[in-house]
Structures are given as structure tokens and as C-alpha cells.
Amino acid sequence: MIYLDNAATSMRKPEEVIRAVTDALQTMGNAGRGAHQASMTAARGIFGVRQQLADFFHAGDASRISFTANSTESLNIAVKGLLLPGDHVITTVLEHNSVLRPLYEMQERGVDITCLDCDETGMVYAEDFEKAVRDNTRAIICTHGSNLTGNLLDAEEIGAVADRHGLLFILDASQTAGIFDIDVEKMKVDVLCFTGHKGLLGPQGTGGIYVREGLRIRPLKSGGSGIRTFDRAHPDQMPEALEAGTLNGPGICGLGAALSYIERVGTHQILRQEETLMRAFYREIKDIPGIRIYGNFRQPHRCPIVTFNIGEEDSALVAGRLYDEYDICVRAGGHCAPLMHQALGTRSQGAVRTSFSHYNTMDEVMEAAAAVREESRLYGR
């Protein structure tokens, strides 16, 4: 099987991730719920990963990182916990439903949304954000990289716009964390939402949210925290403020092992390998008759994604054939990015998305390209 669906989840994980999860399952108690060895093992393990993440994103203090189940939870926390009726927020058509749907909910409660359109290559630029700023604008919320086209937005420039206008900058790093260097200080990010199971190579069910020092977010959930038991309200100290209930200790330890692996290999090396594979695939298929590729490939760096269609063929049928006939796993359909598809004119057709991991090989890329060539030749017959 050739797995080219890494933007959905990086299926292959480093061996140490599997070992860390197994070890945790055999040794971990519940973190913050006792001082015995089992509980302390969990607390120490989780704290260590918190610090790793803080270092990884240049956040400094470990207490600024709360663990969540995924980006969707982090984004819900950010959107629902920061925006108020009467606020204006700027977002883009590139966004995933994990940004759009919480925003639509807030729109029902009186939040005003400007959704920036993209150009013909699917790009949105910092100046587009600047032009949309109003007196009541409270935040910019956008993706760092499109999960559909792989286009990378310039987070540093967008962060500078937010900083200039005193706006909150909420960045969705679902497709970029672990592949691109993310420096929350340099990018002026107030809230960073990330998942653990994609580029960060951790287990599913892990993720987190970075919240800038001094910024308070109304928690989405309340309940057990291991602290301030007799208070009626959930504690407001970070990171526990955003972490009600038992954490996914084994998953978090797996994420920690994945971070150690990434640090050892280096994000630059991972990006270099993934971009090499992605660009090779792009070169191989771009001139095939009938192939339409989406996104901006002139960018010096972009997410390792190539999304295409063959003529007017339903993307689901193409993806189905790629799996049935060639044992190649790709993603078809809408990719939870409705506005991006609308902008690209692929709402009914969907699109075939290939997404690469540094674990993929050039042979796999060539085999996949040959399969697309063959399917393209057969198209219409």
C-alpha cells in the first residue's frame, strides 16, 4: 500500500512513539490526582511534553500550553472563548470547517465575520487582512497552510498586521506544525491551535493550544482539574483552565516521543524531504492531458500537498480507482473545506488530494504518478 493521505493523519509514526504509548499504558496513573509514583509518572511525563511543546513553538513557559484532543477542540476553545457579540473577525475562504463552523455559531450570537476571498491560485495575502480591518475588529483567525491546496500563508506578515492594529491573531497550524518552524513570538501569535497526529507524528487524540501570557480565554469545558476542588468554578490558571477532565496521558507521551524524533531529524530536513517528493509528483503529473492541479506552486515553500482532478471525473471515483487498482491511499471529496472548493469551482466534483510524509519514497511517488497517468489515459473511455 502507498499511503499518500498524510494531511488527514500521518499514519506511519516513529517507532519510539509506539514504545512511549505502550510504556505509558503500563506505568501511568492519573496526572495531578495524587503524589504516588504512578500519578507522578504521569504528571512528570505530561509536564515534560508541555515543556517540549513550549520550546518547539518558542512559547517559553510550559504553562502557556494546554492539551486538547485535536485542533478542532483548540479552535472551538479559541473562537468561543474569545469572541463576543459585536466583535468583528477576519478569516479566509481557505479555512477548514473546524474554524468555519465555530465562527458560524458565533455569527448566530452576533459576531460579524469578514471572509477574505482568494486569488486564482488559492492565495490570500497580508494586505488583504489589513484592508478588512474595522473599528470593531477583534481578531484575525486563519490557517497557516490550506489543507486542500497546500498553499502556505505568510503567518509572520499576517501577525504583523494583527499586531499593528491591536488584534488577536489566532493561527490554525493543523497542516504545518512539525513541518514548518513556528515561532509564536516572532509571528506575534496570540493563540496557536495544533493537532498532534499530522505533521507532529503523534497519536490521534492529541493536540493543544498555546495562549499568550496575559490573555484569558473562557473555557469551553469545566470539571475535574485536580486543583481547587472546593471552588464552584473551574480554575482560571493556565494550563489547567483549559483542561477539564483526565488528560490523554499515553497519547501525550507518544506525542513527546514524536517531538524528540522531529527534533533529532530536524524540521528543515523533514520539510526538505517532503517538498522534494511533493514537487516531484507535481512535475510528473502537471502536463498530463486533462489534469487540473490546484494551488500555488511558485511558492518557495508550501505544504506537501498536491491536489488535482482528471477532467470532469468525480474525485471520489478517481480516489476509489487509485485504491482498488493501484493500492494507493488518497483523499477525495470536500476535505472539510467548503469555501475553498467553492472558490476553486470544485464544489460538486471535489478534488483528489495527495499528501506526503518524509517516510514516503521517490519510488512510491513515481508509482503514484504513473497510476494517475494511466487513469488520465483511461478517462472518458
Partner: protein
Amino acid sequence: MTENKRDHIRKRIKKDYIIITFKTTTAAMAMENRCLKKGIPGRLIPLPGGIAAGCGLCFRMLPEEYAKWEKELGCGEGSGTEVYHYVM
């Protein structure tokens, strides 16, 4: 339980300790981490019922060690920690 262990428990003598409390488990873990790195003796224990604090863990150390490391520990006002004498 061995007879030796039972004997040890019977002969236990209460001592005066310094107890450092925290607002969050994460702050407690950060203190433990810092002390391990700097070689500061002490350990996290369950918070005694006689002390009110946010977090169920506290850092216990001997008063003479606390006096020696007080500056490095950086406890007290504005640090999110509180320091108590506690006999246990």
C-alpha cells in the same frame, strides 16, 4: 508488610518541614523540574489538609535546605507560590 517496616512506622517522629504550595499541578511540576536540575533537595507530596492551596501537590523540604536555596527557589509574593512551616 515486613516487621522492620512496621517498626519504622511505629518509631516515626514528626519533624518541621517547609511546604511550598502552588496554584496548578503544572507549576508544581515546574518546581520539581527546576529543583532536579539545580540539585535542590526536596520532593512533591500530597498537600496536607491543614494548608489551603489550589493544587493537591506541594513541595516539601527541610527548613535548613530552604534557607540555603531560598533565592534560587524564588517563592513568595508574585510567584504564585506560598511557603509554610508544617510539622508532619
